[in-house]
Symmetry: C2
Subunit: 288 residues, 2 copies
Amino acid sequence: MGEALYGCVEAGGTKFVLGVASGPDRVIATKRIPTTTPAETLGRMRDWFAEHTIAAFGIGSFGPVILDRADPAWGHIADTPKPGWSGADMAGALSGFAAPVGFDTDVNAAAIGEARWGSGQGAASLVYLTVGTGIGGGAAIGGRPVHGARHPEMGHVRVSRHPDDAGLAGICPFHGDCAEGLANGPSIIARHGASLSELPADHPAHMIEAHYLAQLVQNVVAVLSPQVVVMGGGVMATPGLIDRVRGEYARLAAGYFASPADLIRAPGLGDRSGLLGALALAMAAERG
Amino acid sequence: MGEALYGCVEAGGTKFVLGVASGPDRVIATKRIPTTTPAETLGRMRDWFAEHTIAAFGIGSFGPVILDRADPAWGHIADTPKPGWSGADMAGALSGFAAPVGFDTDVNAAAIGEARWGSGQGAASLVYLTVGTGIGGGAAIGGRPVHGARHPEMGHVRVSRHPDDAGLAGICPFHGDCAEGLANGPSIIARHGASLSELPADHPAHMIEAHYLAQLVQNVVAVLSPQVVVMGGGVMATPGLIDRVRGEYARLAAGYFASPADLIRAPGLGDRSGLLGALALAMAAERG
């Protein structure tokens, strides 16, 4: 008899990444499927896992999601602008396997994954921020994800305008000038006509982006005082950006917070923060 | 033999409030002493408690403070601009009583007090904000205070300028335009020459203040998703202010967050949030 196998789901708005693993270094199979309709996408997910004997599942999902175990809609997507997905029953799609299912936001999953195996090993308090098409953040305190009235929505903290960025309206339809509205990937393209990695290293876009992300980090630090802030996502892959954010955070925070010198870190799990976060959710679900 | 008595300390920058209590409704003695030097103030505190037999102490202190139990400086004030108080050994001042001592920030104490007996009874996630000479915030998740690299410093979240408030530089010496720099009591006086309660109800100062405090609430909600935000402190006692903050928060958040309609509440413990928070710390210290 082999080790227990866990089913891992990183459920994103454009693709689902599935994995079967017995541990963070033992991912024995992975599969990507495009996010189309819930029926098709969740059906393909179910079919793929049916080839394995799974001890427990973990799902880190795009949000908003329902995390309250006392709510009959636990495990579902909440109201979302993504067509067809409001109310989709993510956890229920795996109920036929008679294995426990852990369920959380993609970024809360990434936070517990990074705290357990990645850049924040041993950190009692860690925040994971992703900066890409959207901006989101999750938190792990004592290795457990932070919930609340719903769950963190860190991309929607308010930030102040960079003095060289007076023209464009923030693109968040709810808040305009929140971090997501001023610093996500589409806002960079709306402002400069190109993505950050397509612009020369001396282009002002880099410092404008770093200014907004550093404010996001400052606001997270002021509220939660994490020991570690891991920053991932497509925009953060821009060469030099994480160092610019570190420098701008140091300038803005002005030494006030007791944040460690190595506060801001790249994901230790690389592009597997989400998938291995789902593994951590599965292992926690198995423990019950 | 009577009930166990707890020693409660709300340690502020201008005064210490001491109490002896056997429960939240059974505060049998209180005492106020001015905050002068550590030797004098902590000595008077010790002398006053010596008249009672105390089972456990709780101290909610002005900060920054050292909360890491593994740090030899646990229970001390950290570096503070307040003359003479950097390094003051708050918890150690009570060590002669051979009773356990709970120690945390004043606002973390108030948060657990309000979550246990006040406006947030039953809330799994509660933030307490105080708006007065300074602005601070603490959080209780599952009834326990939130720590981290140090502890929350919520007054120092960044906020954006109100369009009618372009003139004055924010008065926070570290960050200028953070919530504390633009919305604490002294900043109101610097801007308008009077406190909020001295200005007529139709004075624009009220909406400027509400705008900054609503951004503070939005940033707290985005990061932590609390079920309850309790707002206390001298500035919040201004008639009508809490309703203005509620309205402005609803406008700014634009329905995005899953925050309950009664998110923003006045302190259920009135002016005893801090003292009864210290009681909750004492009870937790006794349990060990």
